[in-house]
Symmetry: C2
Amino acid sequence: MADEKLPTRGEDFSEWYNQLVLKAQLADYAPVRGCMIVRPYGWALWENIQQALDRRFKATGHQNVAFPLFIPKSFIEKEKHHVEGFSPELAVVTIGGGQELAEPLIVRPTSETIIGHMWSKWIQSYRDLPVLMNQWNSVVRWELRTKLFLRTLEFYWQEGHTAHATREEAVEETRQMLDVYTDFAVNDAAIPVIPGAKSEAEKFAGADTTYSLEAMMGDCKALQFCTSHFLGQNFAQAFEVRYLDQSGQLQHCWTTSWGLSTRVIGGIIMVHGDDQGLVLPPRLAPTQLVIVPIFKTDEEKATVFKTARALKAQLVKANLRVALDEREGFSPGWKFNDWEMRGVPLRIELGPKDVAKQSAMLARRDRPGKEGKTSASLADLPLTAEKLLAEIQQALFDKALAFRRANTHETSTYDEFKKAVETGFAFAYWCGNDDCEAAIKEETRATMRCIPLDPDAVLGHGHSTGPGICVHCGTPATARAVFARAY
Amino acid sequence: MADEKLPTRGEDFSEWYNQLVLKAQLADYAPVRGCMIVRPYGWALWENIQQALDRRFKATGHQNVAFPLFIPKSFIEKEKHHVEGFSPELAVVTIGGGQELAEPLIVRPTSETIIGHMWSKWIQSYRDLPVLMNQWNSVVRWELRTKLFLRTLEFYWQEGHTAHATREEAVEETRQMLDVYTDFAVNDAAIPVIPGAKSEAEKFAGADTTYSLEAMMGDCKALQFCTSHFLGQNFAQAFEVRYLDQSGQLQHCWTTSWGLSTRVIGGIIMVHGDDQGLVLPPRLAPTQLVIVPIFKTDEEKATVFKTARALKAQLVKANLRVALDEREGFSPGWKFNDWEMRGVPLRIELGPKDVAKQSAMLARRDRPGKEGKTSASLADLPLTAEKLLAEIQQALFDKALAFRRANTHETSTYDEFKKAVETGFAFAYWCGNDDCEAAIKEETRATMRCIPLDPDAVLGHGHSTGPGICVHCGTPATARAVFARAY
């Protein structure tokens, strides 16, 4: 596995990504076009992501549920923007149990419609609100150009759905979940993100407002990390989701939805990975530390293995996720490369001399060579490892933030803008007009990623204020926005 | 919710079940025929089941993965018994992205075929074996008669799939997983089960041998709790899953699969439930204890709530799953009934006198009236509660086992047999013949549930040994088997 060399990121970032996903055994191509198989290492990473988010969802009062895979075709047609957006992407079941179905069934692309239908039965009174739900499942969208984790026909995600008595509460929920995602991105995935609002053209089909987190990948392109939608009363009206308020009046609910998918795994690979392979943030890494035993003679092997197994037990007890590489027939050097490729944050090298000194050598994945090496006594090792893992977690975030800021440019002229989006993000005044946005996309392949909620955080310093003019058309600007080529 | 009365189990067991599932808000009917929505209370129960099993799967070396929802139609056709078994039940996607598909896609009814296909790529050498995988997902089988949790078009489950170098190892895995399920059934679900082998007629389509756990429900009918299949080399041959052995010979793998679904929730309802509603085993109950505050005046309310909140915090700290019922406008009596219906194992009643005495009254769900009440000091309450929950867990199991044994009869004559399956399980000698099995089913509506691995455990005492004669046809018996009408 560690034998075939990856292309470097500089040579071919896209091929580096494709080959790394396969080589690290995160995922593989399914026999059905555009579908993927998530292999054990990839799924273990996803389970850690799920736990990190699920804990936050439950702490903010959400409950998990499961709505069915199949949605009657007529449901999709009830909300006019929703049907326009999703119609071209649907997978349709027309045969069940050997019979042609009277009404074809859609394999869910998202669940607003069927949830709206059920809420209209369950929600009667203001006492039933808010309703705060989430589900972990997979959805299907018939994409033409696919790439493992980033865009597949079927993908794994969570979809949160909530219903509220007032507009204010629903807006607050939309923003709260964006904050929850930001907290996860920053503290668990070590990925700096720009929270902001999407344009009319880029928002979710059926939403009043879509917010997203935008992140910069290692090739300076943007990735939409997740989204949170304020749906207004659009779905509540289409599905008659109503409640009796305290004065006995029938009111439509205000609803939200928000989602994060396995594409985040693609983001983690592309933000932190290097030419040696994956670099996983310690808080999400399936294996946080690997112990590689080093020995020549059988006697040395016996001594080293005995200590290594005791050390592993000690680290497991300290709640660290640790592997001991006992594979036969591979040299320590080969193993080092293999675990580096898999992105394990910390390697413990243990040889007979280390055992004699009751110490071990720790090597950080994020700092190659001697600079990343520390010797630690075995007795202190769990504490030393925990400290180093926390340092690595922070270092990955700091590096990614510095990289994003170095490759994001404030642009005043369209020439500057065009140059900026060739190599990174452009931050520019914009008129807010659909046509202008479309022209920019046509001319530069850059899309409006978001209107940042905190413009100062984009570059880490104050930015020009006051009424500017649109970088493209020169008319008065309505906002400052981030533009970039995107996945 | 607690206002409409359930039918009693004696009046109409089936309606008691249907109404209870809706009333306790475990699940609801989806707008698509035969599909269900699992609501928060039901899904929280499923999450506890998932955790209890997932922990055991990982402890026995299995890794979670995700194979796609869609399977090419041609795959299903490669294993001849598999296609015969599943063809009538398939849901078929014929349209994707607005286009008719060249090859229709099957929505997975189970994943042996697509996993076999991928294993043929991943498995090369004996060094790659064993492969031990599991996935949590939903599958679709086009059932005609459906019932919430017990039989739905789409259902949630886990499917384990393993590949081995030898027949012995694969057989051992099949039996090991049956033991894992038994451990879960007995210790977490508090359900006594009969592990055994299925008949040729009842085994999985494509298996050499199917084992199952069979449980007796409150109406004395049988429920297949889960299955574990030894697949021989059937799928390995159909999909060319081969490995080079240590002597350089190409060999077919031996494979297994095993699954447990949300129908187990139906089993928990039907084994433990009573005329007041659900009775959940403490180890799986989403809420293990509920505190119901009792007060008359505002002053009493303030005192009681303050103590109740502190008590809740104390119980949460002890890792107990606790709810405090602060709902306004409902009497304590109404709340008692509501939580009884929801099957919460232990109720804590807290009034002003209790606060004064720094004690509370504990009421067991499984023992109605005074018999199930204990007074406990607040300081000791977490310990008292833990002890009582363990007692309830054991009592539920003991009661279910005694019930099953009381309603299982050894039968020597066909008259005794027919009488036994009218009211419970029959345990009888059987010739092992397909025709005889079919005739019994036709004549009595009872099916061969399993040939118990430990015949002595069925009735809890030694049973007649030696060569008997078939209870139906009188020819020499090959086994003693359990027969019953089943869900």
